[in-house]
Amino acid sequence: MENGYLALVLNAHMPFVRRPEYPRFLEERWLFEAISETYLPLLRMFRSLEADGVSFHLSLSISPTLASMLSDKILGDKYIAYLDAQLALAAAEEERIGGDPAFGPLARMYKNLYRADKDDFVELYGRDILAAFDYYYKKGRVELLTSAATHAFLPLFRDSPESIVAQVETAIVTHRNAFGKHPAGFWLPQLGWYPGVAEVLRAYNVQYTVVTTKGAIFGDPTPERGSFAPVECPAGLLAFVRDAEAANAVLSESSGYPSDPVYRDFYRDIGFDLPANYLQGHLEGSEERIFTGFKYWAVTGRTNNKVPYNPLSAQAKAAQHAAQFLADRSKEAENAAKLMDRPPLMVCPFDAELFGHWWFEGPAFLEALFRLTASSSGLGMITLGDYARCYPQNQISTPEFSSWGDGGFAEVWLDGSNDWIYRHISKAIERMSELAERFPDESGLRERILNQAAREVLISMCSDWALLMRSGKSSAFGRKQIEEAISNFSRIYDMLCSNTVSTEWLTKLEKRDNLFPDINYRMYRKKR
């Protein structure tokens, strides 16, 4: 028996940013960067561990919008074009600084990485990243979870139960279509929990989710095992509890591992360092200065005088941090185990894009962690599903409304920068329910238009738009996504009320917002 368990839970998510009408679209780069810096490196890590016979267990949520985009042919083509542009920039960089002893090897490192990305994406995975993750899912190494259809922050919509149902049902259908299995686990976007969501999830046979430490501890009744075991809601859903210490070790802005001086600096990028005329032609036609992904400097400290990045030192530091992380968790488990009737569980939920995209050495940290746990006794890695099977009896308790955002509630998604959106989204949900009641059994063109209306409502609910507005980063883009979705929905609503349909416009919209092909607008009907 292990002395304790570590459950690593990653949430891979990107909002729906597909814009086929443009040959290049800046926000699509978010997806391409995540593929190159996180999803492909994770798969490379799985291959490496498997090749060495290292046992690894990981829970990974792939959000429905990300799954939709990863299976899209147009975005696949655009990703290859992105890689070609990156390789061209890598060649130019090698010519520019190839002879420099500090920076030449880094230019070659990027060239090799983008080459490996193209080989993996095109040759190894046949442009199908979902199938690559599914391979490890079917082998039992990686447990795949789903998340709300458009990553809506569910607590803010709790008074529109039909909208919660729509988010959950669409997610389940998308997951089943992508992986051929019903998801047992559900990642609550932003760990946004509210009492009542368990009933909806259980109605769709979801067995478990993850909540914050705060949500669990303020739950009713207070959990007797603290965060070291899940609680079971009266509806039967298991709520695993985030381990606060583990989260802080990584996420703390001031002392988290990614802030170590030897790691690669996220912000210092040649897109902001080199003359515009050099960069033009390498940035997919963008006239803006943007992050190119070519970063040559280490974090160093809070200074503009950065030192050159040294990959070997950084890799060594990642291994050191993995050992530290494991030692700290072992100590934590040892203290808790003395007081418990079962091995303590430490659940570590993170955004997947933390590893690789933001924290360049993150995948190396994870790989070292898996290797260390496999080779040492003490803590074992476990998936949420395996833990639920091993320990089916848990204390009954209902967690309190909570999230992992600032303050632990809904401040991020509801403040002066974004509060205006809820009037419109709520109205769209109300009208969508009205349409579903008025037209419960449509087929043909009317069913198409009702399904598109349902898609637009889901898009408007995406929590990323509110986050963008609050963060001040691409806030106009976030605003525009909501305005477009609401405007498209309102146009459909008016069409159905006046019984006039513009098929040309509808077809164009269906081609652009093509996510969730099997959506069923009837899920917005009120439950009786």
Binding site: W30, S252, E288, N304, K473, S474
Partner: protein, 255 residues
């Protein structure tokens, strides 16, 4: 490292720069030389960015990861793009309604509207004397209903043009609804125009079981990081009371 903001500002005409200065709240004298205009605007934008960064760091938010997914800076981020000429969606739906959302233990958000017809009726009625919100406590979580025949409430006067408001709640863990009311002349007279949905603010206290709580469980809560949580209260005799004394909510912690 190239100063992107200045580079972008350099590309604007003097007229555009003055318009931008207006939008950033700068009151520049007319006829100022172009480099000075750019310098003034860049300084304000820099200050805003620093404030934003400081806010984020001090709050230690996990969401930094989310924000970093969206790594590219759009020109709108420094406010150079003018606001859209016309609204892409309607601003209101011309119906009399009010809706409430619980945001956190201390604050709720309410938005409302009064239809043109109701507004016209109100304006034509000389006995109507303005709008107010009545926040009615329906019960606490632990006690599902308020005392029979007695409901606690408080009123917030609002102007005709107001359409939304953040409401400071007197305590956490309460169920409440908000009523949009029109005050009538005469002491205490009013007319309820709309009632909101019922909402619950989250509790920030422990819900200890009536049968008691094991001492080992207090230690497990402590190991789970309860000292880092903002607790409204702790029961007398609770071993956590001592360890929690004097600790505020830490700035850079996950919970």
């Amino acid at each position: 490292m190239i100063d992107v903001k200045t580079e972008k500002l350099e590309a604007l005409s003097l007229e555009e720069l003055y318009a931008l200065a207006d939008r950033t709240g700068l009151d520049l004298p007319p006829g100022l030389e172009r480099p000075f205009v750019i310098e003034e605007i860049a300084e304000v934008l820099e200050e805003e960015e620093e404030e934003s960064e400081e806010r984020h760091v001090s709050q230690g938010e996990a969401l930094h990861v989310d924000e970093k997914k969206y790594s590219d800076l759009r020109i709108d981020d420094i406010g150079i793009d003018p606001p859209p000429a016309e609204e892409a969606i309607v601003s209101r739906y011309n119906e009399t309604m009010i809706r409430a959302i619980a945001r956190d233990p201390s604050w709720a958000f309410a938005y409302w509207d009064v239809s043109d017809a109701d507004l016209a009726t109100m304006r034509g009625d000389e006995t109507t004397a303005g709008l107010f919100l009545r926040v009615v406590e329906i019960g606490q979580k632990e006690k599902k209903a308020a005392s029979e025949g007695h409901q606690e409430y408080f009123d917030i006067p609002v102007n005709d043009g107001d359409l939304q408001w953040y409401i400071n709640l007197p305590r956490s863990g309460v169920r409440f609804r908000i009523e949009l009311c029109a005050r009538k002349l005469g002491l205490g007279k009013f007319h309820v125009l709309a009632r909101s949905n019922e909402v619950e603010s989250p509790r920030q206290s422990l819900a200890l079981p009536k049968g008691g709580f094991k001492n080992v469980s207090y230690v497990l809560l402590s190991l789970s990081g309860i000292e880092d949580l903002p607790l409204d209260d702790l029961p007398d005799g609770n071993p956590l009371r001592l360890s929690h004394a004097g600790l505020g909510e830490p700035a850079d912690r996950a919970y």
